[in-house]
């Protein structure tokens, strides 16, 4: 009874003296093929991953009305005329028809888009099905009041210079999730240049970590104090009831603050 090894040893001896190229030549050629196909696969998949996939992933949709933000900001003064906080502190978000109807009960200018808005929506008492670039999944809790009213942030930090736009952008909808491309960001690799380029959880965390660090950086003993705190926290869990000093992502129950 022969072993597998013995059989393997047998194989070249049976082939020797045949018409095939000599072993070193054959080996070199095979390696070239291997490398070639490796690169073919590599490049093809890189093309698929970086170029084709992002194109396939998003469908392109036009807003029902081409809205001119710049014009409205000029007329009304600021964002909060239309995107306001209600008396109970909740944020109104995208205006409903009742917000527009005050001025647009009749067609005012000669813009065909305005005419379309007035005749097809205002007169029909039909809400415009705006496609919202910044819409987050339903489980995400986000309080505009906490950030804008309490935190003093401006709209641009998260939403960019949308107030200066004269036309609505194409809305790119993720075919899998149904949310806007703006959430992940235009850059498929997830890098961003501006704070408003992305709206994923990491982007929330960037800011919150910064806020945490800046709160403690003026304290001379801060790094040492933090180290001691962390040692205590890891070694003796439960010592700090509220995990004071943790980031929004590491506090106890932190996940459920936003993921409700």
């Amino acid at each position: 009874m022969s072993t597998v090894d013995e059989h393997e040893k047998d194989v070249p001896s049976e082939d020797s003296g045949g018409k095939s190229p000599s072993p070193p030549e054959q080996k070199g050629k095979a390696t070239a093929y291997v490398i070639f196909f490796f690169f073919v696969g590599l490049i093809a998949s890189l093309i698929v991953g970086w170029i084709i996939f992002p194109q396939l992933l998003y469908s392109q949709k036009k807003q029902p009305i081409d809205f001119n933000h710049a014009l409205h900001v000029d007329l009304t003064g600021d964002c909060s005329s239309c995107h306001y906080f209600r008396t109970d502190g909740t944020f109104s978000g995208v205006p409903t028809l009742w917000g527009c109807i005050d001025c647009h009960e009749e067609v005012q200018g000669d813009d065909p888009e305005e005419e379309k808005f007035v005749t097809e929506y205002v007169w029909e008492y039909k809400e415009v099905p705006w496609l919202v670039y910044s819409r987050q999944p339903d489980c995400v809790f986000f309080s505009h009041a906490a950030h804008v009213l309490n935190g003093g942030m401006d709209c641009v930090t998260c939403h960019g210079h949308i107030g200066e736009s004269e036309h609505t952008r194409i809305y790119e909808e993720n075919r899998i999730t149904g949310y806007s491309r703006d959430i992940w960001g235009r850059n498929i690799s997830g890098f961003k240049r501006n704070s408003w380029d992305r709206m994923k959880m990491d982007d929330c965390a960037d800011c919150h970590e910064e806020a945490r660090d800046s709160a403690t950086k003026d304290e001379p003993r801060a790094p040492l104090g933090r180290l001691i705190d962390n040692v205590i926290r890891v070694g003796f869990p439960g010592t700090y009831a509220d995990n004071k000093g943790g980031s929004v992502q590491t506090q106890r129950g932190a996940c459920f603050k936003c993921h409700q």
């Binding site: 991953g49 909740t90 999944p137 489980c139 899998i176 149904g178």
Partner: protein, 731 residues
């Protein structure tokens, strides 16, 4: 192979796997088919609940224009922020699948279910044409209206419409409130509804009233019970079944059903014998007291009463002493939720007991509450046709002969039509009522409807009666309409609650008030002249002109300064005194006989109410059915309660299939052994056995009304049946 490795390496170096992982996780956590309620502005709109006669104030939480939750109105005099399970479930009636979405005509004959949508114009033209035809034939009295409610502007408009048209046949559903009104009329000589000063009562003696099972204004009764529990006083429940009320009372005394009047008189015997009555009241304002005294002394000694009621004599004596010792006692009656009128001798006896302890128009007692307003409309003008029609006399015999003080006799109404008594009806309108389900012996109603050529339902839901109609002109549901709720429950001050639209009408429905105005105006003079309003809202505002600011501001109007008439002014009887033995009681206080021979039917079936089941016009919303215990409803099978001793005699055990038979009908049931029920009885839940509505309600259990025929009370002429003789056999 290397291609695959290369591909894998390339893929790993591209964003594809990371992005896909992220997207898939979002997708799996946010399934696109999971409904996400839209966000919007949150607001609260106030209104009044109409789902039971309780009259609670509600505020509806809305997101934009969508109602998302119903809550009780804080500070409201009736419910002060509380709400019951039916009130909470109201949104299922608004958004539920059984709403009638617009006017519909049944083309394949009644019950065929072949409905064709018609426009309002077409529908109203048809009805007006039909009515004009009947009137032209000189038979206006052959139009009748059956209304679930008796008070408020809508029933007033319906009556006005019929008067101007020429028909006396406005028939309204009857309840315990009617019996109480009659008792106040006969004993105190007043036209008033009975109110209870529950903010002060410190001893509530309930003769089978479901204080915590839907009686009066349920939420107000809950609040009263809490106050009693918190140390203000006691609740004593007299009932043959351990109901929720009995279980939560300070004392539960099991009593033979139907013998409540005898027990009240037995208590009176002890109070009179021991001179524990309020001497000032009895001596100065007690009419016929000597005769009453003689009656209770001779016929209702504790030992005699013990034999009748099954309550032992010692308990009777102790209870009478406790009741009379309380500083602000009140005794109430009317079984369960009080949605049937009940026996007058019981109401008389219990109210006489109140009088003995001075609990009439006094702190903590029973108050006579007058109507809050008189509508300022002049009497409608009648032409000759109308005047002749009004002379024809009511089909139900109410307001005539023995029953002059009874406004409506619904049972007699349907029986008269079924038996062809009086004159035949040509058309019937059914408003906010479902008599084909909720009347005792609905077969009579079905048979009566079969004899009426034209039936129009105004129901918002495709209920049993609507299915039996030729045309449905759907009313808005209460959250979409204006209406008034007048002197609700047993509230002790003149009170009006305003029902206001909190959401836009969801479907092509119209307020029945507007439809009546349109119909009247469509008929021309003189009917149209009686309805000078542009809309029902106009009419409502005119009816409550002085109260309108309060109504629209607070949602209710109440006569804050109201105090009931003091004893010297309170009684408008011929003698000017409280009549202990009121007129019409010639039959005495003998317990009312129920239907069925005891030989053939050895058991007694008693229906019971629960807060978890809505039993009237409003079908049980699915949320409520979900809360019903599986000892009441298991799957589609209804369980009846039987004492284990009785069950053992019948060879039945827990869960046994059985057939429950009465003189009226027989139904399949299952048995639930319950030691809380007196032996010899069978208790069956009300509110099940619908055949209409949707899958959440239809086909679940049996309708207890099918098993019980009405028994006419000799004084009121209303239904006094509290049960029926029955037999239960193994299936």
């Amino acid at each position: 192979m290397s291609f695959i490795i290369g591909g894998a390496a390339g893929t790993a170096l591209s964003p594809l796997p990371w992005k896909l992982t992220d997207d898939l996780s979002i997708w799996t956590q946010m399934w696109p088919w999971t409904p996400v309620p839209p966000d919007g502005e949150i607001s609260y709109d106030g209104s009044t609940c109409t789902l039971c006669p309780g009259g609670c104030g509600i505020q509806v939480r809305k997101v934009d224009r969508r109602a998302v939750k119903i809550e009780g109105t804080p500070g409201h005099p009736i419910n002060d922020g509380g709400i019951c399970i039916l009130g909470l479930s109201g949104l299922q009636l608004l958004y539920g699948p059984t709403r009638v979405k617009g006017p519909m005509k049944q083309t394949g004959g009644r019950g065929s279910g072949r409905w064709v949508p018609v426009s309002w114009e077409e529908a109203l033209e048809e009805v007006a044409g039909r009515l004009a035809e009947i009137r032209d034939q000189g038979r206006p009295e052959s139009l009748a209206v059956f209304s679930g409610n008796r008070r408020g502007t809508i029933p007033a408009m319906l009556t006005r419409f019929l008067t101007a048209y020429g028909s006396p046949n406005i028939v309204t559903g009857a309840s315990l409130a009617d019996s109480y009104e009659l008792a106040l009329h006969r004993m105190q000589g007043v036209q008033a509804s009975a109110g209870l000063d529950l903010d002060q009562t410190d001893f509530l003696l309930s003769f089978g009233s479901g204080v915590l099972d839907g009686w009066g204004s349920p939420v107000r009764m809950f609040r009263t019970n809490s106050a009693l529990k918190d140390g203000r006083g006691r609740l004593v429940q007299l009932e043959p079944r351990l109901s929720n009320t009995a279980a939560k009372a300070d004392q539960w005394i099991s009593i033979n059903p139907g013998t409540e009047a005898a027990l009240a008189l037995g208590l009176a015997h002890v109070i009179v014998l021991e001179k524990r009555y309020r001497a000032q009241f009895v001596n100065e304002f007690g009419g016929g007291f000597d005769a009453f005294k003689q009656m209770v002394m001779s016929g209702y000694a504790p030992e005699t009463v013990a034999q009748i009621t099954g309550v032992d004599a010692k308990t009777i004596v102790t209870l009478a002493r406790d009741f009379s010792k309380a500083s602000m006692p009140a005794a109430v009656c009317g079984r369960g939720a009080g949605d049937t009128p009940g026996s007058m001798n019981e109401v008389f006896a219990v109210h006489a007991l109140n009088a003995l302890v001075g609990a009439v128009n006094s702190a903590g007692g029973v108050w006579a509450v007058p109507e809050p307003v008189e509508y300022p409309w002049p009497e409608p003008e009648m032409d000759e046709t109308a005047a002749r029609g009004m002379q024809a006399g009511r089909l139900d015999g109410a307001g005539q002969g023995r029953y002059t003080a009874t406004s409506s006799r619904p049972e007699q109404f349907f029986e008269a039509i079924r038996d062809g008594e009086g004159y035949p009806l040509e058309a019937l309108f059914v408003v906010e009522a479902n008599p084909c389900y909720s009347q005792r012996d609905p077969e009579t109603v079905n048979a009566a409807l079969a004899k009426i050529p034209y039936v129009v339902s105004f129901s918002s839901f495709l209920d049993e009666t609507a299915r039996n109609a030729d045309l449905i002109l759907p009313n808005h549901v209460y959250l979409e309409r204006y209406e008034d709720v007048v002197n609700p429950g047993v509230f002790n001050r003149p009170f009006v609650g305003l029902v206001q639209p909190v959401v836009d009408p969801q479907f092509n429905t119209r307020n029945v008030g507007d439809v009546i105005i349109e119909l009247a105006q469509g008929l021309g003079e003189p009917v149209g002249g009686a309805f000078p309003w542009d809309s029902y809202e106009d009419c409502l505002e005119q009816a409550y002109e002085e109260q309108w600011d309060a109504l629209t501001g607070d949602g209710f109007w109440m006569d804050e300064d109201f105090t009931p008439a003091g004893w010297p002014e309170a009684f408008e009887t011929a003698s000017g005194k409280f009549e202990f033995l009121p007129e019409g009681l010639e039959g005495g206080y003998a317990p009312l006989e129920i239907e069925g021979a005891s030989g053939e039917y050895p058991l007694v079936l008693v229906p019971y109410d629960s807060m978890r089941v809505s039993t009237g016009y409003i079908g049980n919303p699915p949320f409520m059915t979900k809360t019903v215990s599986d000892t009441v409803l298991k799957g589609d099978a209804l369980l009846v309660e039987v004492n284990p001793k009785t069950a053992a005699q019948l060879g039945l055990s827990e869960g046994s299939r059985a057939v429950l038979t009465t003189a009226k009908d027989s139904v399949d049931v299952r048995v639930h052994l319950y030691e809380g029920l007196m032996p010899g009885l069978v208790a069956m839940a009300k509110g099940f056995g619908h055949t209409a509505y949707d899958k959440y309600l239809a086909g679940k259990g049996s309708n207890v009304n099918r098993l019980i025929g009405p028994v006419q009370d000799p004084v009121s002429g209303l239904d006094a049946a509290w049960g029926v003789r029955a037999k239960l056999t193994r299936a």
